[in-house]
């Protein structure tokens, strides 16, 4: 009992009530209080007297403090989970999600594109073939056209020669060396000194490769070469312009070695005609 008395008188209990003890001392006091009713009673007394002392020193807070503090606590009350919370109406706003529809669009689109591509290729190939044909035809037509153009040109020339009143036409008749049917028509324009051979009107035997016909003009009884020409299988319609000559008395054609001769081979004179 002496120990307990000494413990009480040490002043530790007062410090305990005033909160002025270390955590270890605090535990010790609490342990002692639980063991010894006298200590517990002493503590009670100290607490009660301090409480009364505080009540003696009480200061009434202003009236508005009550509302202020209670409101702040009520706000905290409202925060407290212990209070029953108002059941929230269950909003049935949960929508069942339907699985997204299988989107075949791209599949079909791809197939369509492929089909279109194949069709396009076929069309292009076809068109290309047609274009080739058309081009070939065009070239053929062009060449035909050129042929016709040149023919027309030739015809024009021929016509201009035949229509030109200044041209004289001299028919050369066959000699003994030529067949009876042989004949040549020479067109001569004294004003322009032009000699033109209408190959369509050359009725002569065909010459071989080694020989050519040579046209001569007889001027002052001397032969003047006016050029060579061929008589081939093909029907030549050329208006062949020969060398020019002034005042010829006659025209004659001889068969000469290819390329022509300086002087005519009189034995081979085929046709002759006087101007």
């Amino acid at each position: 009992m002496e120990d307990i008395k000494a413990y009480i008188e040490s002043g530790i209990l007062e410090l305990y009530v005033l909160g002025d003890v270390s955590p270890a001392e605090k535990l010790q006091v609490e342990e002692m209080a639980s063991k010894h009713p006298a200590i517990k009673a002493e503590l009670e007394e100290i607490e009660r007297s301090m409480e009364l002392y505080a009540a003696e020193n009480a200061i009434e807070p202003t009236e508005h403090m009550r509302d202020r503090i209670l409101n702040s606590l009520v706000v905290n009350l409202a925060d407290d989970n212990n209070f029953p919370t108002k059941a929230k109406p269950v909003k049935n706003n949960v929508v069942t999600l339907t699985p997204p529809k299988q989107n075949n669009f791209y599949k079909y689109a791809f197939a369509a594109c492929l089909a279109l591509l194949i069709a396009s290729v076929v069309v292009v190939v076809n068109l290309s073939n047609k274009l080739d044909n058309a081009n070939t035809q065009l070239i053929a037509l062009n060449s035909t056209n050129q042929h016709f153009t040149s023919t027309v040109k030739f015809m024009d020339r021929q016509l201009s020669v035949y229509r030109d009143p200044s041209f004289k036409f001299i028919k050369l008749n066959p000699t003994v060396h030529a067949p009876n049917t042989a004949s040549i028509v020479v067109a001569f324009n004294p004003e322009k000194k032009k000699v033109i051979l209408d190959m369509a009107n050359v009725d002569m035997p065909k010459n071989d490769k080694g020989h050519q016909y040579q046209l001569w003009a007889i001027v002052d009884k001397k032969p003047v070469s006016l050029g060579v020409f061929d008589k081939t299988d093909a029907d030549s319609v050329e208006m062949k312009e020969m060398g020019s000559v002034v005042a010829p008395q006659a025209f004659a054609v001889t068969l000469e070695p290819r390329g022509g001769s300086v002087n005519p081979t009189m034995d081979e004179m085929m046709v002759i005609g006087n101007y």
Binding site: G11, E14, L18, D20, E51, Y53, A55, R66, L73, L77
Partner: protein, 183 residues
Amino acid sequence: MTRRSKISLSEEELVSALKNREKIAVEALYDMYSSSLFGVISRIITDTATAEDVLQETFVKIWHSFSSYSTEKGRLFTWMVNIARHLAIDKLRSKDFKNQNKNQELENNVTFIDEQRNTVYKPELLGIKDLVQTLKPEQKLILELVYFKGYTHVEAADELGIPLGTIKTRLRMAILQLRKHFN
């Protein structure tokens, strides 16, 4: 405006109501203890607005940490007044409060001087006239320092230049005097 009648419960009823988080318990708690707690806080913090803030913080803390209180550890008021004293002392030592005091230095000095000369009328101190006569000056001083100014007994011993043992004895004597007075 008629004065509202205060709610009063026995300590057992109050504690159990607080444990059940009843709203009436909060009102009873305030009505029963706010003035005692505000008295203690006001002795530590002289600025009324700050003291009111601390009182509010005290009740909020009591409410939130009430589960940590148990009747075995002692009376409810002892637990609450220690919360109030700690909050008040923390506030007093906080940087904000110190800065605030610096800014109001002159004004505070005037109030302090007035207090020294007892020229300020303090109605709250009227009731303790008997008590003041009961306590010896050195007992009053030790209670003042430890209970109201937040000194630890070690700090009080330093402040007064008295051995620790003497401080403890004086404190015990002061409280014994109070006990005698209240009985």
